[in-house]
């Protein structure tokens, strides 16, 4: 009890802090803008409204959805599109291991909770100290993000279908720019990844005139030959 008294007010672990709720709301808002763009760009590129909407509910992974739609719109095969998205989503396996404790005990809770595992929900959950707070943070951020993401994708898709000639608005340029915004934080922090990404991009460009759409991006994985894991102890500068 003493630690509770010291904070000046009683904090219940099963009620999210105002600060946490504010952070979650900000991340939801940012995700919502990405969702709006995803819906609008997909439909503007020529896909029917239901494609981004259904994909967002059943796949629910922003970067993978953008990649898959990008390859489909460029005329790539469905398996190249799915393979690229899946490779991007392998990190969700690592996150789901990290938050396995947090999801809860019941079978249904775990089956539903697994679908809500994203970079953001894992980060929110793992930032909390005690188990109850972790669980609350995971579920509040998970439900919040899932709801805003899907509502915004629907809104974006409906808005996108109202646009006419999309090349005139330059929406085709927005798409790679979105990917740049997603990937820049990682590039900024990790020079070995930068080298690998540069080599991969060169390989993909060289392969573009020679191979079917979607394949160059997978060939870019050869860039990983230039990658070395950062050794622990050495500064990751």
């Amino acid at each position: 009890m003493r630690s509770l008294l010291r904070t000046g007010r009683v904090r219940r672990p099963d009620v999210p802090d105002p600060e946490l709720l504010r952070d979650i709301a900000l991340v939801c808002a940012a995700g919502g803008v990405v969702g709006l763009s995803f819906g609008a760009i997909s439909v503007a590129g020529g896909l029917p409204v239901w494609v981004p909407v259904v994909m967002s509910v059943v796949v629910y992974a922003g970067a993978a959805q953008f990649s898959a739609v990008g390859i489909l719109l460029a005329g790539g095969g469905p398996f190249a599109a799915a393979a690229t998205g899946l490779l991007l989503n392998t990190r969700n396996a690592a996150f789901s291991l990290a938050v396995a404790d947090v999801l809860g005990r019941g079978r249904l809770t775990r089956l539903v909770g697994a679908h809500l595992v994203t970079d953001e929900t894992a980060a929110f959950a793992l930032a909390q100290r005690d188990p109850v707070r972790r669980r609350v943070a995971f579920w509040v951020s998970g439900i919040g993000l899932f709801t805003t993401w899907n509502v915004c994708v629907l809104a974006g898709a409906l808005a996108g279908s109202a646009l006419g000639d999309t090349a005139a608005y330059g929406l085709d340029a927005a798409f790679p720019a979105v990917l740049a915004a997603l990937v820049l934080p990682a590039l900024r922090e990790r020079p070995p990844v930068r080298r690998a990404a540069l080599l991969g991009a060169v390989v993909a460009l060289a392969a573009t005139p020679l191979t079917p759409t979607g394949v160059p991006v997978l060939l870019a994985l050869a860039g990983l030959l230039a990658w070395r894991p950062s050794t622990r102890g050495r500064a990751a500068a």
Binding site: V54, Y60, G85, P176, A177
Partner: protein, 105 residues
């Protein structure tokens, strides 16, 4: 195209859910080595950069002209300077759109 879209969505959805289930299913029985986690994270970045580069510069096997790469460049610079996401999207699109209106391919 619709058949391909359905197949891609289905494969991606099932595969992604399977990846997300590994935690709850294997809970406590395995731990992913840090090296493997790092490699997967690097692979994701390599894929995204390849996708954005080919998307910015090429169009069905040929070049994409000048307006699109210029728009992407503006968006990239905005992102580098930590501009909000909406500004990145609008900056890229507006640049390409204005250049096209001026007759740049």
């Amino acid at each position: 195209m619709t058949g391909g879209v359905v197949v891609a969505t289905l494969v991606l959805a099932v595969g992604t859910y399977a990846l997300r289930l590994t935690g709850p299913l294997l809970h406590g029985r395995i731990e992913v080595p840090a090296r493997v986690r790092d490699l997967l994270a690097a692979a994701a970045v390599v894929l995204l950069v390849a996708l954005l580069t080919t998307g910015a510069l090429t169009e069905s096997g040929g070049t994409a002209g000048w307006a699109r790469p210029a728009g992407v460049l503006v968006g990239g610079v905005l992102a580098w300077r930590r501009a909000p996401f909406a500004v990145v999207v609008l900056g890229a699109a507006a640049t390409a759109g204005v250049l096209r209106a001026m007759g740049v391919p």
